[in-house]
């Protein structure tokens, strides 16, 4: 395996202290290589969301180590000063609901991230249009989010997550609101883009339709992860 992608070693997260302390994550070990899409599966309360928040640099873990690409971002404490910039430049997010900005058109929703990073508007929009073309929603580039179908909105949200070519993308139940056909289409897109952009993608899901598509699956139970080989069913 390449050293890039994302590696998580012995990650722990404890909420509270003393008698009321809760260990949400007890021992999380994961490695997702660039270009790989893995599933993260677990029942409610297993620690999926806490793990996602730790990986997304939204909350601070209690202990452990996280390496993103070649950079150690956490080693019993954050090693990165600007977590906001880390999220903007190194981590892509795809949510259960698309959460597109309702007052920006499709192109600017996607181009917003590079614009926030200081890339000129024209350059950011050019990149956005290329990505929209790759995701087959270029024809809706000027539409507002409210004018898109659910599948189109999710593809635009994926484009937004990919626009900065982050080393890792965290997808939180990205197929939950979609029917089987569209859900599989989204997974196909994630697989394609992961290979094309050399991005590691972690998909948190309960969706039985898409679980067979993963080649590797991490189960999380009571804050501990277990790796399992998936079916890797062909979705070409």
């Amino acid at each position: 395996m390449s050293g890039k992608g994302i590696q998580i070693m012995g990650l722990r997260k404890r909420y509270g202290s003393g008698d009321t302390a809760v260990d949400a994550l007890k021992k999380v070990d994961m490695h997702v290589a660039p270009g790989e899409v893995v599933g993260l599966i677990g029942p409610s309360g297993s620690g999926k969301t806490t793990l996602l928040k730790c990986l997304g640099a939204v909350i601070e873990p209690t202990a452990g180590k996280m390496i993103l690409g070649d950079e150690v971002i956490y080693d019993d404490g954050w090693k990165v000063k600007d977590l906001r910039a880390l999220r903007r430049d190194k981590i892509g997010f795809v949510f259960q609901a698309p959460y597109l900005i309702p007052f920006l058109d499709v192109t600017d929703n996607v181009a917003l991230l590079p614009m926030l990073a200081g890339i000129p508007n024209a350059e950011a929009r050019k990149r956005a249009r290329e990505l929209l073309k790759a995701l087959d929603v270029e024809h809706r580039a000027k539409a507002m989010p409210s004018q898109l179908s659910g599948g189109e909105q999710q593809r635009v949200a994926i484009a937004r997550g990919l626009i900065n070519c982050p080393p890792v993308i965290l997808a939180d139940e990205p197929t939950a609101p979609l029917d089987s056909e569209r859900a599989l289409a989204v997974i196909r897109i994630l697989n394609d883009m992961a290979k094309k952009l050399e991005t590691a993608i972690i998909v948190v899901t309960h969706d039985e339709k898409i679980i067979p598509t993963f080649r590797r699956i991490y189960h999380i139970r009571d804050g501990v992860t277990y790796e399992e080989a998936g079916e890797g069913r062909n979705i070409e």
Partner: protein, 401 residues
């Protein structure tokens, strides 16, 4: 970087414009209030300017003739005229009253002016129609705000007057239009009683043994004659010769005539600082209240708009948007709302409210500039609550769980 605030406003422009219009009407009222205050000060100033006087000689220890009643003998002006530095001295009377005309009545300030011509203290300095008073009795020059017309006959107490001239911006400190009539007529209108009252007074005098003594012929007639004439005026308006200090001339008059004399600056202080002070305070309080109401409304609107975008703000924060960008988004929207409100308010104050107010509303550009700055400051302050709410949004909310 694109303007998130601008895009949001364009996306929901209807909401912003209609909210801005509502706010604008409130700002319009606020600007009109400021305009009314300015109008009151302007009315006071125009009353002084148009009187053509440098000094006001009034009854001792009074704030007359505008702020308090003042009564002095009508021959005092001769002595004042002889004091060094006095160029002109003219009697004047002022009486605020209801004037009957063909189509109802109008409240005016009647000024009694001495014979002379334009340039004589107390006279209207210019006309917009007709001519000045040329006869000794029963002619009038009226301010056009009184709605009187040339040739119209008006009734003041017991007499009818013909309007022979119209002037403009000749108003009392209360904003009542002025009507100028000859001094003798004005003295009569001010003090002359009706026939029944005169008859009753004569009867009482005749029955008073002190006034109707046997063996003193002519006493009763002399007393009755003195009761039916009025030798008083409210003030003497004095114009000072060039090269003389008005304060020094005023001091001479005070010393030799034992009267109270006000210079222009002192009279302005009386009018602005005393006569309209209470009204000005009321208007100031209204301004403060309206500003607070406007602030509260802007704060509430912006807070509500921000709460409606909590999920988007969480997403923006999660994907790495700086706090300054989010603050800018909210603050720019707040300022934009204020600017829309200001434009609507300025237009409504100028075109709708000022013309229909019965009082003179003076909307000065400097007040508009101050108003604009105040609106921007209020909007910035009002957005603080919404900004605090936005900054408290946890980016983790976008992830859920």
């Amino acid at each position: 970087m694109i303007s998130l605030a601008g895009r949001d406003i364009l996306h929901s422009w209807g909401k912003f414009v209609f909210t801005g219009m509502g706010l604008g009407l409130l700002i319009g009222i606020t600007l009109s209030m400021a305009g009314i205050y300015r109008g009151m000060v302007a009315d006071a100033k125009v009353l002084l300017d148009n009187s053509g006087a440098d000094l006001w000689v009034v009854q001792k220890d009074t704030l007359g003739p505008y702020a308090e009643p003042s009564s002095i003998y009508d021959d005092i002006w001769r002595g004042i005229r002889s004091i060094p530095g006095v160029a002109q001295a003219a009697n004047v009377t002022y009486l605020t009253m209801q004037v009957s005309k063909n189509s109802g009545d109008v409240r005016v300030m009647v000024a009694g002016i001495t014979p002379g011509g334009p340039g004589t203290p107390g006279w209207p300095p210019y006309l917009v129609a007709g001519r000045q008073i040329t006869r000794s009795h029963y002619e009038a020059v009226a301010d056009i705000a009184s709605k009187l017309k040339l040739g119209e006959r008006i009734k003041l107490r017991r007499h009818y007057y013909t309007v022979v001239g119209l002037t403009r911006r000749m108003v009392s400190s209360n904003g009542d239009p002025m009507v100028f009539i000859p001094l003798k007529d004005a003295q009569e209108e001010q003090f002359l009683k009706d026939n029944d009252a005169i008859w009753a007074q004569r009867r009482r005098t005749a029955h008073n043994p002190a006034f109707n003594r046997p063996g003193v012929p002519g006493l009763l007639d002399a007393i009755i004659a003195s009761q039916s004439t009025n030798p008083y005026v409210n003030a003497v308006l004095v114009r000072v010769k060039k090269g003389y200090d008005p304060e020094q001339v005023a001091e001479s008059i005070r010393r030799w005539k034992r009267l109270t004399v006000y210079t222009r600056s002192q009279m302005k202080e009386i009018l602005v600082g005393k006569l309209i002070a209470t009204a000005a305070k009321q208007i100031f309080m209204f301004l403060v209240i309206l500003s607070l109401v406007s602030s509260t409304i802007v704060a509430f609107i912006i807070y509500t708009l921000t709460l409606g975008k909590i999920r988007e703000i969480a997403v923006l924060k999660l994907i790495g948007t700086k706090n300054s960008t989010i603050i800018g988004l909210i603050m720019k929207q707040s300022i934009a709302l204020g600017l829309i409100g200001f434009v609507v308010g300025k237009i409504s104050a100028t075109l709708l409210m000022a013309p229909i107010f019965p009082k003179y509303v003076l909307l000065e550009p400097s007040d508009s500039a101050i108003g604009l700055i105040a609106v921007v400051v209020i909007c910035i302050l009002s957005s603080i609550v919404a900004i605090r709410a936005a900054l408290k949004v946890d980016p983790a909310e976008a992830i859920g769980g």
